[in-house]
Symmetry: C2
Subunit: 188 residues, 2 copies
């Protein structure tokens, strides 16, 4: 649980008494590669912390699979679209490597936030960073070419190419697999 605690403290420090209450509502999962952690069961209202491994959040939209997020070691991640009841049907999480991760239910998080000011603050900061990421991604989709988005991704997550199939990366970048392939061939 050390890595989780560290990551939390980095966002916003928690006094001991509420830290214990908070940590107790996280669930640990140790799963193999290609494991489907969540599947269309309506319980997508969770926040995750990936201690080690690679995971992918995706959902279906008009029979197409959309990769909403790819998380790697020591990242928090959530399906923004379903954490806040705008639930797209069919949310799923799927590991791409053997992974260890923690999850917390939204309801538990909110209950503790009501009870403890520092947890409310932590939550606010987490939502804020999600918002910033969301804006950056929107900006990227709106104003950058697929080429630039790809280069930005390589920059932000070096090594992702080795660990994640291109088809998922393409979907995450919002382009087709063919387009991604062409981007990769034109620039070395």
């Amino acid at each position: 649980m050390d890595l989780l605690i560290q990551a939390l403290e980095k966002i916003s420090p928690l006094p001991d008494e509420c830290r214990d209450a908070f940590l107790s509502v996280w669930q640990y999962h140790d799963v193999p590669k290609d494991h489907t952690l969540l599947r269309e069961n309506g319980i997508g209202d969770q926040l995750f912390f990936l201690e080690k491994g690679v995971a992918r959040i995706y959902y279906h939209k008009n029979d197409k699979e959309i990769t909403e997020w790819i998380a790697m070691d020591r990242q928090f991640f959530l399906s923004i679209t379903s954490f806040f009841e705008r639930t797209p049907s069919h949310l799923a999480i799927h590991t791409l490597e053997p992974s260890q991760l923690y999850s917390i239910r939204q309801a538990d998080f909110l209950r503790l936030a009501d009870q403890f000011h520092p947890i409310e603050k932590l939550l606010r900061k987490m939502v804020t960073s999600s918002l910033i990421l969301s804006q950056q991604r929107m900006d990227s989709i709106q104003f950058e070419s697929a080429q630039q988005r790809y280069e930005r991704l390589l920059d932000a997550s070096p090594g992702i190419i080795q660990r994640v199939p291109l088809s998922y990366i393409a979907s995450f970048l919002g382009v087709t697999l063919e387009t991604l392939s062409r981007i990769r061939s034109h620039r070395h």
Copy 2:
């Protein structure tokens, strides 16, 4: 100040003692049409509440003007990009009608959030709704045609066409003025 209080209470109720402290840091502005409220002065880290009127937040990106948001009566609005120090240079706010509005500095908001749990919660909820909006908009940009985005806007803000020049609406929708014009001519 009644409309502001009402709008705040609707998001998250505030006990009297912190409500007074909170309200005291809001600034009132009563400005004519075509008034530039903020202009490239680096003080874009503000949240606004538009009591009455129409306002537009925009910034410059490679010499082009990007309309980030158009707010109408009784809406909160902020430049997400600059409220959280990802500051794009040259943020500006501009009224499109005579308007009455309130503003609060980010620093004041944060200070009071630290002091009062209910204000922290209010802030968290506001950031959360921004995040949801941001996601919806991203989704819209990524998966919908310009046509569909336009129709969605008409739905969400009927009357906006009468009150806001098409060039701003086009920029807000992420298309050129010409494209918007064609969209409008093809469908009634």
